[in-house]
């Protein structure tokens, strides 16, 4: 990690992030709006997929997915810029690594959804209960993303090296 930190510190992107006036708060604002879109859309999709809110048409709830990706994209870009701006602080922080681990879990879980649920979902009854595999995927998704949210907010307070 020392090599990574040395390579980033002083690089053009590092200088741009820390040298831009109001850069950091603007990126934080985008990161917060992104997380609201990501978690808001996933709450609707996953809670329905977990069997709640059966009034909602389960197939139609997946029309929210593009907003999940928009939110994720906003947070991926701003998150990457945070890392570039202050690599030593993030890489020394155990909370950051747990957060990245949970993002990876959430990503694999999304892949599981894509393989197991997406191809068959269109044939489901729009207002019926859901199979166990769908419920499992939904709870793993909500658990990992809310874990990501908490760890992200608490990075300044936990395990700083």
């Amino acid at each position: 990690m020392e090599g990574f930190v040395q390579a980033v510190e002083g690089s053009a992107i590092n200088q741009w992030v820390i040298g831009t006036a109001w850069g950091w708060p603007i990126m934080e604002i985008i990161h917060f709006i992104g997380l609201s879109l990501l978690l808001g859309s996933l709450l609707v999709i996953d809670l329905r997929m977990a069997g709640f809110f059966r009034q909602l048409n389960i197939v139609a709830t997946h029309k929210l997915l593009p907003w999940t990706f928009v939110g994720f994209g906003m947070n991926l870009v701003t998150g990457f810029l945070f890392l570039m701006g202050d690599p030593a602080r993030y890489t020394a922080n155990i909370g950051f690594w747990w957060k990245m681990f949970l993002v990876a879990v959430a990503g694999l879980n999304a892949l599981w959804f894509w393989v197991k649920i997406n191809p068959v979902m269109k044939t489901w009854e729009p207002h019926a209960d859901t199979p166990l595999v769908a419920k499992t995927i939904a709870w793993v998704s909500l658990g990992s993303w809310f874990g990501v949210l908490l760890l992200g907010r608490l990075i300044p307070y936990i395990g700083t090296g």
Binding site: L35, S36, V44, Q55, L56, G152, R153
Partner: protein
């Protein structure tokens, strides 16, 4: 009054204990994600996205969104006590609170309209213009509250 608040035991716990502040900050983020996330998704539906989700069924999300609001407001009150005098004189903070107050009024107006008129919107396929306008204002207010909230830490 704000000075008195800062001297209370609750304020001391939030401001000075090891976990008081982080716990409240964590809850504040969870509440934010739920209340803003759900209300914005509802607003987007009213504006015309996500065709296939009936307007009538949207009402089922109401309790979840208000649960997020309560988590957010409660943790926010705890956080406020820790630096009451600073927050009470911070322009971005006061802007944030005003925008949240207005966004909550928008939410109340929208849900009353939905309760009465959602079945009509579903059968005609369109939401009345005034409700679409309020939904857009609601999105703008929540976005503004996030912006002002973040800036509270800097200004």
């Amino acid at each position: 009054m704000f000075e008195w608040l800062e001297g209370t035991k609750v304020s001391m716990w939030v401001g000075e204990s090891l976990w008081g502040y982080p716990i409240m900050l964590g809850l504040h983020a969870v509440g934010l994600a739920i209340v803003v996330g759900i209300f914005v998704m509802r607003d987007l539906r009213l504006i015309g996205f996500f065709e296939g989700i009936s307007y009538e069924s949207l009402d089922s999300l109401r309790k979840l969104a208000w649960t997020g609001f309560v988590i957010n407001a409660t943790s926010g009150c705890f956080l406020f006590t820790s630096q009451a005098t600073t927050f009470a004189s911070s322009t971005p903070f006061l802007l944030k609170i005003s925008m949240i107050f207005l966004a909550a009024i928008c939410a109340a107006v929208i849900q009353n309209k939905m309760r009465d008129e959602a079945p009509q919107w579903d059968s005609s396929g369109a939401v009345i213009g005034s409700v679409r306008a309020i939904a857009m204002v609601s999105i703008a207010l929540w976005t503004g509250a996030i912006i002002a909230g973040r800036l509270t830490a800097y200004l």
